[in-house]
């Protein structure tokens, strides 16, 4: 549980940076090699690699060597922890709206 919380902290810290968010957005639509990804940003290749390292540490992406290229892809399992909170939030709103519907029905009768 503690480890899980530490992991969540890393995920939220990761998502607080606009370049890392942009990287994730691009990777959602498909994997890319590092060179391709780096072309999108006016920062050094080393800085791009550093951002990718942060994303990898938070297990938001995975890297795989393919010949001379390194392919980067999004890692859905890590994002699940964040989406679990969204699912709980949805459950909360479902509860509220079900209550609301009951009130509307009572007002009707």
């Amino acid at each position: 549980m503690v480890e899980c919380e530490a992991q969540l902290d890393r995920i939220f810290a990761c998502l607080s940076d606009p370049i890392r968010r942009d990287m994730l957005r691009r990777l959602v639509s498909g994997s890319a090699h590092i060179g391709q990804l780096a072309q999108n940003y006016a920062i050094s290749f080393a800085a791009v690699a550093k951002h990718l390292q942060v994303l990898e540490l938070a297990q938001l992406i995975s890297k795989q060597r393919q010949g001379k290229q390194v392919i980067v892809r999004i890692a859905p399992p890590a994002l699940k922890a964040a989406s679990d909170y969204l699912a709980q939030y949805e459950a909360l709103w479902n509860q509220r709206f079900d209550n609301l519907e009951k009130l509307l029905q009572e007002e009707d009768s």
Binding site: F12, S16, R21, E90, L92, R96, F97, N99, L104
Partner: protein, 161 residues
């Protein structure tokens, strides 16, 4: 069976969209959601109940819901002010949670009611946060069960950002 709520939060965006259909006319839904007496009966949790409701539903008016933990040990407020009240279509309001370690994490919330056909209404709520970190921090903290745990967690997330 009743309709289900759809809640979406796009990665990298600082909003949350909430949507739900009701088989009731728009005016009726509006009058129920803006009725302070009915708030404790539907605006729940997580794990807490509303013990006090203040709602001055007019532009510039203030709203404040007090919630308490089941043992009565902790209480906190959700509060804000009404920016626009256009019955029976739309309410725009600010939203802040007193349980955060710092002020300034304010949400702008727009609720809209659209009558899709006579007697069927779509309720949409858009919550706009200052940043993705604010949004995700709220989602995370809001869903933690114990308040003490929430404070600690939130402080960590805020420190990390």
């Amino acid at each position: 069976m009743s309709h289900r709520a759809k809640v979406t939060a796009q990665p990298g965006q600082s909003t949350i969209h909430i949507e739900r259909l009701f088989d009731f006319p728009k005016a009726k839904v509006f009058s129920v959601v803006t009725n302070p007496k009915l708030i404790p009966q539907w605006w729940v949790g997580p794990g807490y109940t509303v013990t006090k409701v203040e709602m001055d539903v007019r532009e510039g008016g203030r709203w404040c819901f007090t919630q308490a933990s089941p043992d009565g040990q902790h209480s906190f407020q959700f509060f804000g002010s009404y920016h626009e009240v256009s019955a029976p279509d739309r309410v725009v309001q600010t939203f802040e949670f007193s349980g955060l370690p710092a002020r300034g994490h304010v949400i702008l919330e727009k609720m809209e009611l659209t009558e899709l056909s006579p007697g069927q209404t779509k309720l949409t709520v858009i919550q706009a946060f200052f940043s993705v970190a604010d949004r995700d921090g709220m989602l995370q903290s809001g869903m933690e069960a114990g308040m003490e745990n929430t404070y600690q967690q939130l402080e960590k997330v805020l420190a990390a950002n």
